[in-house]
């Protein structure tokens, strides 16, 4: 929830690491293997979780995630017919997890896409044009960042009524300034580099410079930043559901599962643990993927 917002944290990749001298080829090979694994293990885990949420219910028949029979209520995990058990109302935990996971994935993909596109546009314009454009846009971003996201999200949910679209809207409002600030910092650094001056001297138009020189150069940084931000988005979405302002019931959500489980937490902690662990797995894999890409692309 509390994420550092680095001003120009990436782009300026440091000097290349000193050449590894006197390193055995075996050690080099292990290093390379480690790098590959660090990238593909979280990527594979993330793909597996995505498949579990979106493909599994298409291929296999799973019980309803909204209706259950009270006769089957409170089945412990590993019971027949419901391998993760059922909740107080007899609703299958596993199908709640699958459909709740769908909501989480949809929200973070939408929020990240909106934040990345709009935020980057604002950031590039502010950073590239400078002057009063930058001054105005930066103040707006400052205010949006100082504005507590939770208040806005809750107010949107209260005012417009809870729905998945409104959740996306609410969280986007807070992801846009984060992207904006980071892109602005990156663009400012790029603007002074020799190849930019060369492009300007060669008479390239502004939009061409932005599209051909700025965007490709800041893209890796923005992508890794977005991966690190996804964890925050997922946790925030869960928080809204948890507080009852998120995606409304009967749709299953991870946050609502945790909130429901809380009532019987002392007797059956697994109702809190199972969705928490699922959430943790998603966020850990996204964060580790972000780290691996950062290492690979040399972004800081």
């Amino acid at each position: 929830m509390a994420a550092p917002l680095p001003e120009a944290a990436f782009v300026a990749a440091g000097p290349p690491p000193p050449l590894p001298s006197l390193v055995s080829s075996r050690k080099l090979r292990t290093q390379r293997l480690g790098r590959t694994l660090r990238l593909w293990i979280p990527a594979g885990l993330l793909l597996a979780l995505l498949a579990l949420c979106f493909v599994w219910p298409l291929v296999y028949h799973i019980p309803s995630s909204t209706n259950g029979n009270i006769i089957n209520a409170d089945a412990p995990p590993l019971s027949p017919g419901a391998w993760l058990g059922t909740d107080q109302n007899g609703v299958d935990e596993f199908s709640q997890l699958v459909y709740g996971g769908q909501v989480s994935f949809e929200v973070f993909i939408a929020v990240t896409a909106i934040g990345m596109v709009l935020g980057s546009c604002i950031g590039i314009i502010a950073g590239y044009f400078g002057g009063w454009v930058d001054a105005v846009l930066s103040r707006v971003l400052d205010i949006l960042i100082a504005f507590p996201a939770l208040v806005l999200a809750l107010a949107i949910a209260e005012g417009l009524g809870p729905s998945e679209f409104h959740v996306i809207l609410a969280i986007s409002v807070f992801s846009i300034p984060a992207f904006g600030r980071v892109t602005r910092g990156a663009t400012l650094v790029l603007r002074e580099l020799p190849f930019m001056v060369a492009a300007r001297l060669a008479g390239a138009r502004r939009w061409r410079i932005i599209l051909r020189h700025i965007v490709p150069n800041i893209l890796p940084g923005i992508l890794t930043f977005s991966l690190l931000g996804i964890g925050i988005v997922i946790i925030l979405e869960g928080a809204l559901d948890f507080l009852g302002y998120g995606v409304p019931p009967p749709t299953a959500t991870i946050g609502a599962m945790i909130a429901n489980g809380q009532q019987t937490m002392t007797v059956t902690p697994e109702y809190v643990l199972i969705p928490s662990i699922f959430l943790l797995l998603v966020v850990v894999s996204v964060n580790m993927l972000g780290d691996a890409l950062r290492e690979r692309w040399g972004v800081q």
Partner: protein, 343 residues
């Protein structure tokens, strides 16, 4: 580090003209400039909150009086609360009162000043606990980890901080409750009040503080460890210090850590205002009677004066956090302290 350069530039100009030097130390001038720059941000944030809350379907009076209330009674109450006035008049009214130190009356009828006086200290104590202890731990862990990159301690610290970054605070809070309050019974499940004696304070606030502090610990540790490792590998003064024969521990703590603290302090300052969300959720989970819980009830009651006051408090905290970070720079960096650049 742009800030450092900015301060250096200020320091240069201060050294140039003696008339300018009379205007005070560079640190003091920096404080003044920062406070001035904060005013538009504070106004913007409160105005935005006001607009958002006003854009909601406005049924504050209806909510207080109940659904059976006659339209006349609702209109009368709206008039008493000042909700029938134009939007800008309402905001101006609120702002002028705040400048006189009066935060208004909440829709429940209580004075917001009083509400804050009771609940703000609780939150501040909790936050101080949740901020300082993780900070201390993260410095220790990061130094131990950076002593031997890729060593056992380093891997352990990376794993723990990845866990802290990825876990949802509310989920972590429940795990804490199940383990420490229910199974081990070391702490109460519900905080209720933070108590008056140090022991009761620790008992009531350790779990909420841990739930807020663990993610912070993760962020700080990761940041500091990364910075330390990079410095130890890249910076010339580290090589110089090593070549002089300074013991490794001393290099790490006196040379590298001292510099890395700058980054850490900036992030701590930046994070301060963003803690509002975590505070609101964790206070609700543990029923700590602080302003975070007030914020949630305020939103469901459409209690604009109360929400405004709390948002203002956190916006001021953001501003002060950044300011304190700048001042800490001045204390840590002799170039700023003496108001001139040595380089």
């Amino acid at each position: 580090m742009a800030l450092v350069q900015q301060i250096q530039l200020q320091g240069d100009s201060g050294a140039r003209g003696s008339a300018r030097r009379l205007a005070g130390s560079p640190a003091l001038r920096l404080v003044g400039r920062r406070l001035l720059a904060a005013i538009p941000v504070l106004i913007g944030v409160t105005f935005l909150t006001f607009s958002v809350m006003n854009a909601l379907p406005n049924d504050t009076a209806q909510a207080i009086l109940g659904l059976q209330a006659s339209p006349a009674a609702v209109a009368a109450l709206n008039h008493t609360l000042g909700l029938d006035q134009p939007f800008f008049t309402q905001y101006w009214h609120w702002l002028s009162h705040v400048l006189q130190g009066n935060l208004g009356t909440s829709v429940q009828g209580a004075s917001v000043n009083h509400e804050l006086a009771v609940h703000l200290p609780v939150t501040l104590e909790l936050l101080a606990y949740a901020l300082l202890v993780p900070l201390l731990f993260s410095i220790i862990v990061a130094v131990l980890a950076a002593r031997k990159p890729n060593g056992l301690m380093d891997r352990f610290s990376l794993a723990v901080s990845m866990l802290g970054l990825s876990i949802a605070p509310y989920a972590f809070a429940f795990i804490l409750i199940v383990v420490f309050a229910v199974k081990l019974q070391w702490f109460p499940v519900i905080s209720g009040s933070v108590g008056t004696t140090p022991v009761s304070f620790l008992k009531a606030t350790t779990l909420p503080a841990a739930a807020i502090g663990f993610p912070l610990f993760a962020i700080y540790t990761r940041l500091l460890r990364g910075d330390l490792v990079e410095q130890m590998q890249r910076e010339d003064y580290i090589v110089t210090a090593k070549a002089k024969g300074v013991p490794p521990w001393r290099v790490l703590i006196r040379h590298a850590l001292r510099n890395s603290l700058f980054t850490l302090i900036t992030v701590v300052g930046l994070n301060l205002g963003g803690l509002i969300g975590a505070v609101a959720i964790i206070e609700t989970v543990f029923t700590v009677p602080g302003i975070g819980q007030d914020l949630l009830t305020g939103i469901s009651n459409r209690d604009v004066p109360l929400i405004e006051a709390i948002v203002l408090v956190f916006a001021i905290m953001t501003v002060l956090g950044n300011l304190l970070a700048d001042l800490a720079y001045a204390v840590l960096d002799p170039r700023i302290r003496y108001g001139r650049s040595t380089s």
